[in-house]
């Protein structure tokens, strides 16, 4: 009989008990004897966490170490959370169903700011003190990583260690150091200090931040023996590294219910709003032959009926045509669907899509991000109106009738004309359809769905100094776009959606926050904030109270333009891309000056210092 941490009574009283039982295909079970026990956590619901490739890579890598048993843990949904709190049931890992509090490591991935209260839920249910400095010798070492770790400061107090960069490189060193610490029974403090000297690993408690009267940072000082700069870790070759060819297959439908093939990491494009494009530089591709082998193994080992390419911009993968043709030849008569997200819409991609999808059902997607060319120059989005209209023209002639457009509102230097251009661009695409396709050949109306999200400035982008809009400004801007939409000739063919402004503002606070925000997070959690990324559970009022009660002004963090000389909370991290380059780009943005992509011309961002990837090869 397999061991379960929760009783039958509890499992049958909660929604989707399969979230909590483990035992999935390809889940790794080991003999716990003499193993370093690592609990890897995605602090959101099972269905979300199970869809994440990064965790799958780390799970595969850590379990490939004979002396480590890595297990998974996710946030528990509100129904089970209430039961576990009431009955004082500790949080457990899925594989062994053992308590997280008894593990050696608890690793938490930070994928988005709005999961920060969920981190506290995980610690709370595991019986681990929130603040790293309150933890005892026997508590697990709590470590985080992922994109939000590029500014770990708002949550730095909760972590013993922060891993900056790609996880494939330094975990072995960390495990070895931990084993040494266990063997020689050194103190936790001593271990953490040594760990903080491993490449890419930051131990926040050995750094001291002081502030000026105006609230800005006065100094950020490392204790003796600790590095003053943490350089992000990256994998040199994506071809010769870990890749999970036997990923865990969930029983219930995960958000990404398919095999995922990561074709490259990094991006050649320099969109000025995009953090991923900056922190994952330089671009590195995985060898096409290697991908073919991985794809075959993954399908064989999982039985998935769908495989998807993953990268920031698949169209920039040099052997895209080969890998697409391979997938079609290998899988199309074996009933494996092929999904190709983030492809530029052109003759090639439309041809591929025709082969792998039902044209009637599929949607053509563009992310112009801004409505006007002027604004696209500001953000350095190298997509022109001609690219969009040519793509749409070919798509409409090929039988497609549905177009999705993604935009941002609240970008720096945005004017009312730029906002209205979102509506005129949407209209122009609809008009193109009606001009192009004769009445008798049309199958109903063309459908244009335009969505706007609110721009949140992120660390390590040229807009890291920019002032973010207030909630009222955002709402006004959405209103401007909505009104402009209604004035369009083809407005009946266009649907306009916009995001909630309150969540965006919170995201803005935590994205560029500092250590003084940890107490806000604790207070908000105490007030019941949890699953803030979910519309059904998000409430803004308790957050407002939490800011007021802790005396923290959110506007200081999001609604303020920073001087480029100001010490930023994340300045101690070196991502390869230099501050000088970011300042240059911030100025270029203001001057509406386009910077060529990495393949057109090197702009000297600094990432070439890593000596890997395309910067190195070309």
């Amino acid at each position: 009989m397999s061991k379960l941490a929760l009783s039958k009574e509890i499992l049958l009283s909660v929604d989707k008990p399969a979230r909590y039982i483990g035992h999935e295909v390809n889940a790794v079970i080991k003999d716990p004897k003499d193993k370093i026990r690592f609990a890897m956590c995605f602090p959101d619901l099972y269905e979300i966490g199970m869809s994440h490739l990064g965790i799958q890579i780390l799970y595969d890598m850590l379990n490939s170490f004979e002396d480590v048993w890595c297990e998974r843990v996710y946030s528990v949904w509100t129904d089970l959370f209430a039961i576990m709190k009431e009955k004082k049931i500790p949080l457990f890992a899925l594989e062994s169903q053992d308590n997280i509090g008894d593990f050696d490591f608890l690793g938490i991935t930070l994928q988005y700011e709005m999961c920060y209260t969920n981190i506290l839920q995980v610690l709370d249910l595991s019986g681990i003190p929130f603040y790293a400095t309150d933890r005892g010798e026997d508590d697990p070492i709590v470590i985080c990583g992922g994109p939000c770790a590029y500014n770990p400061e708002p949550v730095a107090d909760f972590f013993d260690l922060v891993y900056i960069g790609e996880g494939e490189t330094s975990y072995r060193l960390l495990i070895d150091l931990f084993k040494e610490h266990k063997m020689y029974k050194t103190t936790r403090c001593d271990f953490l200090k040594k760990a903080g000297n491993i490449p890419g690993i930051y131990a926040p408690q050995f750094y001291c931040v002081s502030y000026n009267d105006d609230g800005t940072i006065k100094s950020f000082d490392a204790s003796t023996g600790m590095p003053s700069v943490i350089r992000k870790e990256i994998v040199g070759s994506l071809t010769d590294t870990y890749y999970p060819t036997k990923p865990v297959v969930p029983y219930i439908k995960a958000t990404q219910d398919r095999a995922v093939l990561e074709i490259q990491r990094g991006c050649i494009r320099g969109c000025r709003f995009c953090q991923a494009g900056s922190v994952y530089k330089p671009i590195r591709k995985r060898d096409e032959k290697k991908l073919e082998q991985i794809a075959k193994e993954m399908i064989k080992n999982t039985g998935y009926d769908e495989i998807s390419l993953s990268s920031l911009s698949s169209s920039d993968y040099p052997e895209l045509e080969q890998i697409c043709n391979f997938l079609i030849d290998e899988f199309s008569d074996r009933h494996v669907n092929i999904s190709l997200p983030s492809l530029r819409v052109d003759a090639f991609s439309l041809d591929v899509m025709k082969k792998v999808q039902d044209v009637k059902k599929s949607v053509i997607t563009f992310a112009p991000e801004a409505g006007s060319q002027r604004m696209r120059n500001v953000i350095n989005k190298g997509l022109t109106i001609d690219d969009i209209l040519n793509g749409c023209r070919q798509a409409f002639l090929g039988g497609w009738t549905r177009v999705k457009l993604y935009f941002m509102l609240g970008l720096p230097y945005e004017t009312e004309e730029d906002m209205e251009a979102i509506a005129t661009l949407s209209n122009e695409i609809a008009k193109l359809y009606y001009d192009l396709i004769p009445k008798e050949e049309r199958k109903g109306k063309v459908s244009i769905v335009s969505s706007t999200s609110f721009f949140v400035p992120k660390p390590f982008t040229p807009f890291q100094w920019a002032k973010m809009n207030t909630m009222d400004e955002f709402r006004y801007k959405a209103h401007v776009v909505n009104e402009a939409m209604r004035r369009q000739l083809n407005f009946k063919s266009i649907k306009y959606n916009w995001h909630a402004a309150d969540v965006s503002v919170l995201e803005g606070v935590f994205a560029r926050g500092d250590r003084r925000l940890s107490k806000v997070l604790v207070r908000a959690y105490e007030k019941g904030c949890i699953f803030d990324a979910w519309t059904e559970t998000f409430r803004y009022e308790p957050w407002q109270e939490a800011f007021e009660e802790t005396g923290v002004d959110p506007a200081f963090y999001y609604n303020r333009e920073r001087d480029t000389k100001e010490i930023l909370p994340w300045d101690f991290i070196d991502t390869g891309v230099t501050k000088d380059f970011l300042i240059r780009e911030y100025i270029n943005a203001k001057n509406e000056k386009v910077t060529p992509n990495c393949r057109q011309k090197c702009s000297g961002c600094g990432a070439a210092r890593y000596g890997v990837g395309e910067c190195h090869e070309s």
């Binding site: 499992l11 029983y251 439908k253 999982t302 039985g303």
Partner: protein, 229 residues
Amino acid sequence: MKVRIRFSKTGALVYIGHLDVMRYFQKLFVRSGIPVAYSEGFSPHQLLSFTPPLPLGMESTGEYADVVLTNSITTKEAIMHLRKHSVDGIYISSFRALPEKCENAMAAVKAASYSVKFCKKPSEDINMLISGLLSKEAMMVTKKSKKSERMINIRPLIHELTYEDDTVNMMISSGSIDNIKPELVINALFEASQKSYTSQDLLIKRIDQYTLIEDKLISLDLIGSNIDG
């Protein structure tokens, strides 16, 4: 060619719902290299049929899936591959070729057998209660569904009812026409003492499922034959 697979669902797997079990088998067939046939059309799916859903939380040793194959594969080979690629809680016990024009698993089921244990052993003489119930010609009970409540006579729907080693064993009607739950029979037994049991108070296990052939209830597992090399 169509085959019928018998499997058990135990341990942690009892918390996996019916639709997820179907999805599990779709992937299991691919991993095991079973030559499953797909439907035509733009979104083809495996030609697959299951016996009626097992309630969440209930174990079973008698679940069935019928599947159409494009090529033949021996029973021995198929079982070996399926077991190798399955998880602990889903155990494949048979793989048999079905005769032509055989009802699919879902439609074929007319009865199911269950074993029922009590979480708290009742003080009543259960053998007495059983003979009392079986001696009646009619036993009217209220059957509640999500939408309605109605009186039905369950006596003709009870085909076997015994008590041994603290366990009630029963074979009762199941499937699309006359479907009753084992809890309903247990509550009918205790009607006089006005006790009411829910699935939480009982440990119920589905043992097997049966079809009706020439007025006889026959295990779904006995239809068809093994495939030899």
